[in-house]
Amino acid sequence: MKQVIKGNFAVSHGVKLCRVKVISAYPITPQTTIVEELSEMCASGELDAKFIKVESEHSAMAGVIGSSTAGVRSFTATSSQGLLLMHEVLHWAAGARLPIVLANVNRAVGPGWNIWADQTDSLSQRDTGLIQVYCESNQEVLDSVIMAYKLAEKVSLPVMLTYDAFFLSHTSEIVDIPEIEQVDEFLPPYNPEFRIDINNPRSFGGMIGPDYYFEERYIMHKDALKALEYYQQVCKEFEEIFGREYDICEEYRTGDAEVIVVAAGTITSVSRIAVDKFREEGKKVGLMKLRMFRPVPVERWRKVLGNVAKVVVMDRNLTAGLGGVFASEIQAALYPIENKPMVYPVIAGLGGRDVTPDDIEGIINYALSNDKPTDVPLFWGLKE
């Protein structure tokens, strides 16, 4: 049924449809209304789940590590400093191979204190082993929750889906909310092979010495890579039931493109408008939307970007002393290609600064009119 809902409610509806059994969370702006609605659903009995109130995000993740180890579908959500406080246990969730789903509302990291959109929080968790999926619309947010459980439980790795503060979290738009019967058909009950069971005692999280830790990490890496293939299957199955198409990364008007803009989150949406404008003028400009960022779809990126002259990478994040995370990883992926495209790294919209179609247009024109980037990275819209 179609409804007008905010991005945060798209998450809570998705969690309800997945029949999650344990939610453990601590509120933080702009995530708060996700868990507010979920706690109401739990209190009213609309959702048959245990809601665990905790005193910090570290405990929130520790709580779902416990419930997931006990073999039940588990969920948490956070943002910014909250995600950073989870950092230690994020490694644990991934290393313990627990299929927890975490929704992160992309918010800037302080100080200066800022509650607005910025991807630095999630990107600074890229080495934790969590699968990362970036979303562009409220519909995609809801659908990504459902697909996240399917993927997480298949590869035994936690999934973090992430979307922009306010631009989605607090924006109301039309979302087609699936029937729970359809979701049941897509997502069977979670029934893991290993779980805490008093009748069948096992050891979890014990010590592994130098003899086997290396191999254990190798297996985790291989399984993370398998997520690329599995996610494409998951997307296909999702499309068969729900009729909406998703992929590990997506292309828009890239066919004969000479310049491709690469973006994640809501900058993708405004980039579509700019791309359409260039196309109307007969200029060959396209867009690649980043969706899955861990594991990295290296082969797909090479396929989409390998034959174009110029690639503009939009980073709403900053690793100080280097530049944007997406640009850095795209450049690394393209490095082995002969006649590789010229990459134009751009930092824009940090801390929730608006990025408009006019901004994207200006950035594309900058790439069109320069044989190579003038600034690496280019800070677009920087005040003097």
Partner: protein, 185 residues
């Protein structure tokens, strides 16, 4: 695409008002988007909320800089906030106030369609908020329906029924009363 900007103060219901309005357009099968100006809300502080309405999917996600219509929930804001900033020529300004519309014509000039409605009195009559702090957001939507003709009053009423959690009947009646009382300058 139609872009609408609400100006109000924290606690007056501008954000909820913008959401109810998009619901009304959604009922009329439009693509819609509603969002607040992303601030840290404080009671009494100036706030903005935005609506976008279109016949096709909306990809624009930045704040509204060139609105087609402006709705002002507190007329005192006209003196402190540039409510007509970026407003398109011939766009409309709808103001909640007790004064005559000509007062604002002098203030805002001749470039805009100008409407006023005493939404505060309507709200108080329908027991929405208190005389010192009336909740005018639903009343002003009724006035918006009449002033712009973009959305039916029946859709506003249905959106209130479906979306507003409390005092549904009072809110619907307030919207209808303001619909009848809006004055064009």
């Amino acid at each position: 695409m139609i872009e609408i900007r609400f100006h109000g103060r924290g606690g007056q219901g501008a954000v909820i008002g913008s959401e109810v309005l998009t619901h009304a357009f959604f009922i009329e099968d439009k693509y819609v988007q509603a969002f607040p100006a992303f601030g840290v809300e404080r009671r009494g502080a100036p706030v903005m909320a935005f609506c976008r309405i279109d016949d096709k999917e909306i990809y624009l996600r930045n704040q509204i800089y060139k609105p087609d219509h402006v709705v002002v929930l507190d007329s005192l804001m006209l003196e402190s906030v540039g409510v007509t900033q970026g407003l398109k020529k011939n766009g409309s300004v709808l103001i909640n106030c007790k004064r005559s519309p000509n007062h604002y014509r002098d203030l805002l000039g001749d470039d805009y369609q100008l409407y006023v409605v005493d939404a505060a009195s309507v709200a108080v009559e329908h027991r929405l908020g208190s005389p010192s702090n009336p909740i005018v957001n639903t009343a002003i939507l009724g006035a918006f329906s009449k002033a712009t003709g973009l959305v039916k009053i029946e859709s506003i009423e249905q959106a209130i029924e479906e979306y507003v959690p409390v005092k549904k009947e009072n809110n619907k009646k307030a919207a209808h009363a303001a619909y009848e009382r809006v004055i064009k300058a």
